[in-house]
Amino acid sequence: MKVAMTVNGTLESHDVEARTLLVDYLRNVVGLTGTNIGCDTTSCGACTVLLNGQSVKSCTVLAAQAAGDDITTIEGLALEDGRLNPVQQAFQECHGLQCGYCTPGMVMAITSLLTENPHPTEEDVRVGLEGNLCRCTGYHNIVASALAASGVVEMHQ
């Protein structure tokens, strides 16, 4: 079936099987491999992308369901001149990652969280990240990154 959606501001249109998951569409068809597959069971959040501005787990959305929608992946956050978005910048400054596998999903989840709640408390951040698992950091610096970025996130899509 024909599926068309906007990915990071570019209109994408492809023939795919109806059963194609959004994460596989993004990685294998569009060729954006920044979105990781972790658990593949809606638990870990590594595959988090924005669908019409809201965080979703792209392993549990069909590409067909997202037809006509606006998708943002980790590749779509930095400005064209290469400057990082505030959440990415905060991860760098606060050492918000170790192995980096969960990081794209964490950054997308935090970007969505800060859009809904620009000035979260630490508790808000910890609860807001309950859908994202990290096996390295103990979350401390991830939460610190989110708090550092809070109030300065401006979506530029």
Binding site: T42, T48, S55, V56, T60, A67
Partner: protein, 273 residues
């Protein structure tokens, strides 16, 4: 994990969805947010030949108050219900429970109708529906009918919808009464190992249990004890009566029966009973 092959069609109206269901029968399944169905399909526990996507029917996404009832469109996403000013003011327990489902990503996609029509005894919203004395509005080829929540959950993952019917609205009586909601999970985003919900309504105290049997259920013995004057801690001791919890790696039957009493006791206390 990739689902088995299926045909996908996006319904542009409830009538079109009903027509497609009538045409394709048991081979077809409705797809709302997909957060119950797609995981089952990825595990190949469900292999429908056709998915009828109703997730884009915005006319079924609303929360409004009407004649003493809070009416929630079946395709209202958990995030939107949790943040609805109408729900927060007139059925705060429903908004709270919606905000405790899964995690933010799940709540951005999952819908109240999908969750309830799925009939999972471990899901949270049916408990709120039962405790509040709600009902379900369904539409089929012969028109619209309303089903009392007590008559909706028939058996394990089986509800009172005929194969051609679409759940279009969830209704609960306006309820500003105090309530308590307790959910035991190992990870924050998990389904409840056991859950309990108590809410003070105009008809007394509604108490419902999560994951204590094949269907979402009232804690009838607790409700009866309270109605006959028992205090909260005595009433909570009846929480496991009439339940049929299953055993799994999260806990034995005896453990779940014990936890139910503890959680009902806490929920009643929070509800000010």
């Amino acid at each position: 994990m990739i689902p088995a092959s299926f045909d996908y069609v996006r319904a542009e109206s409830v009538d079109e969805a009903i027509g497609l269901l009538s045409e394709h029968g048991d081979d077809a399944k409705l797809l709302a947010g997909g957060h119950s169905l797609l995981p089952l399909m990825k595990l190949r526990l469900a292999q429908p030949a056709m998915l009828i996507d109703i997730g884009h029917l915005r006319e079924l996404s609303y929360v409004k108050e009407e004649k003493g009832y809070v009416c929630v469109g079946a395709l209202t996403r958990h995030h939107d219900l949790a943040n609805s000013l109408v729900a927060r003011a007139s059925a705060p327990v429903l908004a709270h429970v919606a905000g405790q489902i899964g995690d933010p990503q799940v709540r951005h996609r999952g819908t109240i109708g999908g969750s309830i029509a799925h009939g999972d005894p471990a899901s949270d919203l049916p408990a709120a529906l039962l405790a509040l004395g709600g009902s379900l509005v369904v539409q089929g080829p012969n028109g619209i009918r309303e089903i009392d929540a007590n008559d909706f959950f028939l058996s394990f993952f089986e509800v009172a919808l005929t194969p051609e019917e679409v759940l279009i609205e969830v209704r609960v009586p306006r309820s500003e009464g105090q309530w308590g909601f307790e959910k035991l999970t190992k990870r924050a985003m998990d389904w409840a190992i056991v859950g309990a919900l108590a809410v003070r309504t105009s008809n007394g105290v509604g108490v419902a249990l999560i994951n204590m049997g094949p269907v979402p259920m009232h804690a009838r013995a607790v409700e009866a004890a309270l109605a006959s004057g028992a205090n909260a801690s005595d009433a909570a001791q009846h929480a496991a009566e009439g339940t049929e919890p299953s055993a799994d790696f999260n806990g034995s039957v005896a453990y779940r029966r014990h936890v139910a009493k503890v959680l009902v006791g806490r929920a009643l206390k929070t509800a000010g009973v």
